[in-house]
């Protein structure tokens, strides 16, 4: 297969990885009924902190842990505001995203555009030998491999385990979860914190690998909002979320290539808009009765899986409060 094409696919997977990690984190949070809108600022701040911590300690691992701590901390503030202080989660998250982004630029001023540690690609032995798939998926950084584990792990947890049932129930109908013995608000704190830690990890994946280094204005600004959109596009299902992230990153890389091609003259703005238009069209297609009609013509064993996969309803209790009687 064409070397150039494989290199392009490899770079799509690499550049999609922070989006995958962040949107899996947000999926975990929203599946528990909490909407953490602070993603964009949270990614920026944790990218900065991750870079600075790695630089100061000389260890990328310390950077990653610091970034995850920051992500979890911001998420827990959202949870505290939404659950304990009974404020609107959307408002708290929105304010935090602005605050965190500005804080990152202010605190990170003196670290802008200086060289620092980087996580390099490590090929996975044996797996990298597989034709096409090997070079695309298994000659990547450790962040990419973690993202694979996260996608499968999140899916397995949500749909194949008992605690996963409780996790989803807390986001769908907390009254039921309470009646079946779940400590609803504790679980919501837990999954918000966990999701936030992954958002922080996504920040570290930017500053230590994908867009290595730190600069003001931050190069990953706006990606947090994209991750939020991908969660919706992905119907809160890990497999669809990862597809959405790859699709989005793919279109972005494609836009770059077309831009560089001399004899094609499509305005950049238009190219940048294509992924969004595509998302809206897809959402229209998968929402409402279309899915159900499609599912009914499939053979019975495939129905449930397809319905699960294409379902686009948000968790029914998303963004609501729960107070046990």
């Amino acid at each position: 297969m064409n070397e150039e094409l494989i290199r392009t696919l490899n770079s799509i997977v690499a550049s999609a990885t922070p989006l995958v990690i962040a949107s899996i984190g947000e999926t975990i949070t929203e599946r528990a009924g909490v909407v953490n809108l602070s993603l964009d600022g949270s990614i920026i701040l944790s990218a900065m902190v991750g870079f600075v911590a790695a630089l100061a300690s000389g260890s990328p691992l310390v950077g990653v842990l610091a970034a995850m701590f920051i992500g979890a901390l911001i998420a827990l503030i959202v949870a505290f505001g939404g659950i304990t202080l009974r404020q609107d989660q959307v408002a708290v998250g929105f304010v935090l995203t602005l605050l965190a982004a500005d804080l990152a630029q202010f605190l990170g001023q003196s670290y802008s555009r200086i060289p620092g540690p980087q996580v390099l690609n490590t090929s996975l032995p044996l797996l990298e030998q597989i034709p096409v798939i090997g070079p695309v998926f298994f000659r990547q950084s450790i962040f990419v491999y973690i993202s694979y584990l996260l996608v499968f792990g999140a899916w397995y947890w949500l749909f194949r385990t008992r605690p996963g049932l409780a996790h989803r129930a807390v986001g769908e109908r907390p009254e039921t979860a309470f009646a079946r013995g779940a400590r609803v608000n504790l679980l919501r704190y837990l999954y918000t914190g966990l999701g936030g830690a992954l958002v922080g990890l996504a920040g570290a994946a930017y500053s230590l690998s994908v867009k290595a280094g730190w600069s003001t204005p931050p190069s990953m600004a706006g990606d947090g909002w994209i991750a939020l959109a991908i969660v919706i596009f992905g119907g809160w299902h890990p497999f669809r979320v990862v597809l959405g992230a790859y699709l989005f990153a793919g279109l972005r890389v494609l836009a770059n290539i077309i831009q560089r091609t001399p004899d094609v003259s499509i305005p950049v703005v238009l190219l940048n808009g294509v992924p969004w238009a595509l998302m809206i069209v897809t959402l229209l297609l998968v929402s409402g009765g279309t899915v159900e009609r499609l599912v009914r013509v499939l053979p019975r064993p495939a129905q449930k899986w397809t319905r699960n996969f294409l379902r686009s309803d948000p968790p029914a209790a998303l963004g609501t409060r729960f107070e046990p009687e």
Binding site: T161, R162, A169, A179, K304
Partner: protein
């Protein structure tokens, strides 16, 4: 298993919802818990099933004191409750709902769960398919699933809160058979909270009656409806007598000519109907048989595909709801909080919506109006409280208070749904008073007694087909039940 409740107390603010209630239940018996709305029966059952903590008192199970908090802990003590709106998760499948809450390892063990689910369903003749999403089930099926789940969790005492609201007659038969079987064969204790006295009479071995938070008494069945009502209200209510109205020469208020209505599942074709001033027309039928469409078409909320709607001599086909309102037509939706009232607004704000017609609201005047109307319509609630905090009966009375005092026509969807006998009677007193002033009333109801007691004429809907009973006073409940089931053939009438 035997349960003893001793001196249970529960306060909600100033309300003493349960006042020193002592009761005991024995295994193998079906006990009806009776009382009008707000009598404290739901509170007592929630305490027993762990949904609410008690303020004072003691629960003893098989002689030993049991202290538990939370529904899951109650289930471990063998007590499970089926809520009126079953507590499940709409996004889950039947199997996931069945498994969720049951003990087991990390993984779901779907195969074991499926086998257990099918085994219990087979015993009771429940029709549950493991992979169906809950969102596609009827209320009756969701109840079956909850019962199956509670049984699988080892519950020995089953509490059911108004289980026959919103389920079909066939499902009710299956449910009652299952409950009888559980009591007789498994020695389970079944507690049935209901204000449908016919269900209590059909099913229960004994009843306990609450009134105003206190236990009035217990008695063994059988008992007549009259005796039960006497216990619930402290007096025996006289049977409602219908004043025959002379409709000769009364003008036609509503005329429908060759009306065709199209709904999602049902089509009503070529319906012609004349309703005279002071006439009460009852609409019978299972939910979604076309009667709701007719009610909405009469007030302009549903546009007919063809035909004419004539109100007070004026053809209003296709006119907006506003035009109908201006001809003094009133509509009462079955979903009180969803369509009839605005959840989040206070009582005063509701009254102001009706009385304050200018651009600016004079709040002191609105408060006066509110006080007056609340008194007049016997609404028990403070003017500044939000409407969703009212009980069902008070919400329905408030709805009446918001309707014009002397309308030409009232179209009411299930005006007494979920109300206790006393509240329902009050609503009908009001409606009959309006009827005496010449208001024509169309109402739908799921209660056959209500239809035969108050209607002059009854229209029975079955899948869009209509059967007319011209003289409702001669209709028996049995006959009506058969018609609702679609047995139109051989029946006398139009």
């Amino acid at each position: 298993m035997d349960i003893e409740l001793q001196h249970i107390h529960k306060h909600f603010g100033p309300v003493h919802a349960n006042n020193d209630i002592s009761l005991s239940f024995r295994g193998g018996r079906i006990v009806g818990i009776l009382g009008e709305n707000g009598a404290g029966k739901s509170t007592l059952m929630k305490i027993l099933s762990g949904f609410q903590p008690m303020d004072g008192g003691e629960i003893r199970i098989n002689g030993a004191r049991a202290a538990y908090t939370g529904p899951q802990a109650a289930i471990r003590h063998g007590i499970g409750m089926l809520q009126q709106d079953p507590l499940d998760v709409a996004a889950f499948t039947v199997l996931e709902n069945f498994i969720y809450g049951q003990a087991g390892g990390l993984t779901l063990k779907r195969r074991e769960g499926r086998a257990r689910l099918e085994q219990i369903c087979r015993r009771f003749g429940f029709s549950l398919e493991a992979d169906t999403p809950i969102a596609q089930l009827s209320i009756g099926q969701r109840q079956q699933l909850e019962i199956v789940r509670l049984l699988s969790q080892g519950v020995k005492t089953l509490i059911l809160d108004e289980p026959t609201t919103g389920i079909s007659a066939e499902q009710k038969t299956i449910l009652f058979n299952a409950l009888r079987d559980l009591a007789a064969r498994d020695g389970m204790c079944i507690l049935l909270v209901s204000h449908k006295l016919e269900d209590v009479i059909a099913l229960c071995d004994e009843v306990a009656v609450l009134r105003g938070g206190r236990l009035v008494g217990t008695r063994d069945m059988p008992a007549t409806t009259g005796e039960l009502v006497a216990m619930m209200f402290g007096q025996e209510l006289p049977p409602q007598t219908r004043q025959p109205l002379n409709l000769e020469g009364a003008e036609t208020v509503l005329a429908l000519e060759n009306l065709t209505l199209r709904g999602k599942r049902v089509i009503v074709e070529n319906l012609s109907l004349r309703v005279r001033a002071g006439e009460i027309v009852g609409l019978a039928g299972l939910d979604g048989s076309g009667q709701e469409m007719l009610l909405r078409a009469c007030v302009g909320l549903l546009k007919p595909v063809s035909g004419r709607v004539i109100v007070g001599g004026e053809t209003l086909t296709g006119a907006p709801y506003r035009t109908f309102l201006a001809r003094v037509v009133a509509f009462g939706a079955a979903g009180r909080l969803e369509e009839g009232l605005v959840a989040g607004l206070t009582l005063t704000e509701h009254i102001a919506l009706v009385t304050e017609t200018g651009a600016l609201v004079d709040w002191s005047r609105a408060r006066c109006h509110t006080q007056e109307r609340l008194r007049q319509y016997n609404v028990r609630g403070r003017p500044e409280s939000r409407v969703e905090t009212l009980s069902g009966g008070n919400q329905q009375r408030l709805l009446m208070a918001l309707m014009p005092a002397c309308p030409l026509l009232m179209a009411l969807e299930q005006p007494t749904r979920g109300l206790d006998v006393d509240s329902a009677r009050w609503i009908w007193q009001q409606l009959l008073a309006r009827r005496a002033n010449g208001t024509a009333i169309l109402f739908s109801s799921a209660e056959l007694d209500e239809l035969t007691a108050y209607s002059d004429r009854i229209l029975v809907f079955y899948a869009g087909r209509i059967f007319e009973i011209p003289d409702a006073s001669r209709a028996s409940v049995d006959e009506l039940g058969r018609l609702i089931g679609g047995h139109f053939d051989g029946a006398a009438g139009a």
